[in-house]
Symmetry: C3
Subunit: 273 residues, 3 copies
């Protein structure tokens, strides 16, 4: 199943419109190309409606939101909705500032999202209307662990049901739910947290997977999450003496580039609760 999801991306070459932050945008573009998609970036109010119209999916990431790009997010989101395109929200830093929290909440109200992906603190902020996010990282107290797994799964399922979309909470353990079922994914490595933007990259890739697998959004998102974590494991295996986080970043994107459906199927570590 995961295998087919990746192969469908490679076959469909989905064009993904990204309104994303300037910190990790290059990596988002390269991982979209690596997985088989095609990225385009556009964030001006006068440009986004045309650009999103020619794409199959829209990835909205609020990592460096500003007064010019926020209205563009709404315009693009509504247009993508009108066209039946897949739309994903990455609420970077929701909980860390009022503007980020309110923008993410307003987007959730005004735009119909197919998926929301964030760390646990960001997602809790969306669910409860306020929160405490440590910069762009999850608050330690919030983290999903084996100990609180049952409660965490229940929370993610319940928020996904309320949003009527896929919710993906990523961290040491990743949870991906459509409100009914929840993938609990144990791929990845802790060292991925020492690279900027693995979350942003995953959001871009997840949008491509959604576009290429329109009938099975839960599996599409779970496949993207497994692929990212597995790439982190493969990339780490390829590390050589002297390599650090900057090279690791390249090796993860490279691992996506070289990953085929069989490798994903074999390497994915998940259970469905």
């Amino acid at each position: 199943m995961l295998k087919e999801c990746l192969e469908n991306v490679r076959a469909a070459v989905p064009l993904v419109h990204n309104i994303t932050n300037y910190v990790t945008v290059n990596d988002v573009a390269n991982i979209l190309l690596a997985c088989g998609g095609s990225p385009i970036m556009s964030d001006d109010e006068g440009d986004v409606e045309d650009i999103t119209s020619i794409c199959g999916g829209l990835n909205i990431n609020i990592g460096t939101l500003n007064k010019n790009t926020i209205p563009a997010m709404f315009l693009a989101g509504r247009r993508a909705n009108a066209l039946g395109h897949k739309v994903l929200l990455d609420p970077v830093g929701a909980g860390a500032s009022k503007l980020r929290t309110e923008t993410a909440l307003s987007l959730l109200r005004d735009v119909k999202f197919d998926a929301v992906r964030g760390n646990i603190s960001e997602i809790k902020t969306l669910a409860f209307g306020s929160g405490k996010t440590s910069g762009v990282d999850a608050n330690v107290a919030d983290r999903v662990t084996e100990e609180n797994l049952e409660d965490s799964v229940a929370f993610v399922k319940s928020f996904a049901a309320a949003c009527r979309c896929i919710v993906a909470v990523t961290g040491a353990i990743d949870l991906v739910s459509d409100g009914d079922r929840c993938y609990v994914i144990r791929n990845g490595r802790a060292e991925m947290g020492r690279i900027t933007g693995t979350g942003c990259q995953l959001s871009g890739m997840m949008t491509a997977f959604l576009v290429a697998n329109p009938e099975k959004p839960l599996e599409a998102c779970a496949a993207a999450v497994c692929a990212m974590g597995l790439a982190g494991e493969i990339g780490w295996k390829n590390m050589q003496t002297g390599d650090g986080n900057s090279t690791y970043r390249n090796r993860i994107i490279d691992a996506i580039y070289n990953m085929d459906g069989d490798a994903l199927e074999r390497g994915a570590k998940y259970e469905i609760l």
Copy 2:
């Protein structure tokens, strides 16, 4: 001839002002340094005229244009013209949105460009006033092939003559013309299309080549195009097990860094029609 063009860049260390997109800007800066130039980025209306004044060339790339940077492009372009600097246009996504198409066409009317570089769909959009660009990639139907080469060369020559500047159409086969002659360049590899920004990088580098070779703009642009394609070939040869598009990006810039004039002369594959 190509050899001298590269050596002149290394000797002159041309300072290039880039108003460019935030997706690939870091790679543009690093490839400018790799080829022997010196990059500076500035895109605010209040800053661009001063900055372009101290440079030798201006590279305008509309990849993430917005309402603040568009007027800056015009201001900088006119100032660069007044100072007799070399100016290049990279019409990223012209044909993909009204704003991109109109901005590129307006720039072509208001600013005297020494060179325009894009994919075939972008250049056709400029030539015919409208077009269909697949995001930031050329439309398959437009692509330059051995089969339509004669017509493609005629088109590029005719558009270059109309613009009175160098026109470079890059893709599997690259065409570079001044309206009279046309370099048909067969360097490069298809895998370069799986990296974001090789076109943007080439535009930056081409601007440096133009500045350092003011009397022979056609040869300067052809040399930059050959260098980029050759770097794609060398970079690919240096790929190791596990490497993918992210590492390939680094290896291409590295290949420019290590390329000397003799290697360029030997490796360039072109004919002049």
Copy 3:
């Protein structure tokens, strides 16, 4: 002493708010993670005060300043001052345009900085109110050499005393002074100048060192400068056939990631004048 400074960063994981240019922002984020800090980027007037409030330090870099981000720099700077956070200014291109020079001078007047880091031309511009910076590089005539070292040290000490903060002038020889003492640092390699953003990266890292070593700002800044130069040396030793400036960039960040306090202490080459 330098050893402790690095170890304190690793222990404290300081959260650093960066208002920085979009050219080198990804590398700034990754080197902050490499040294043990945690980066967050935010540059909108409506967002920066909240974001800087949850951080320990603020890194203001004017490399691609614009009319939207300039007021955000002032707002964030004042808020950081009010909260007693560490604040650093990187006056990229001061002397190259009126807007950059005036913005840097205004920031120096309005915001209390703990450190200022730039090349010698940028710092001379701040000291004398005007200057000639060659794009984003130091003017050759300004450069700190063994021949003019005594005068250069006197200048940096005097400007640091006037600013009442740490002043770091980086180049072939780095000078870091608090007005009283001056570290003269001879780590690093000339090839670092062929990578975009080593200065920006250092400014980000220096902010993290300041936050984690609040009682000894001079040593903190000197340790960051030594670490960056030493990483340039280690990264260069790790270069392989075919590697160039793009890979060198990764290897430098990787070297910071892998550097421990003992290696820094052993590798640092400095005298105190």
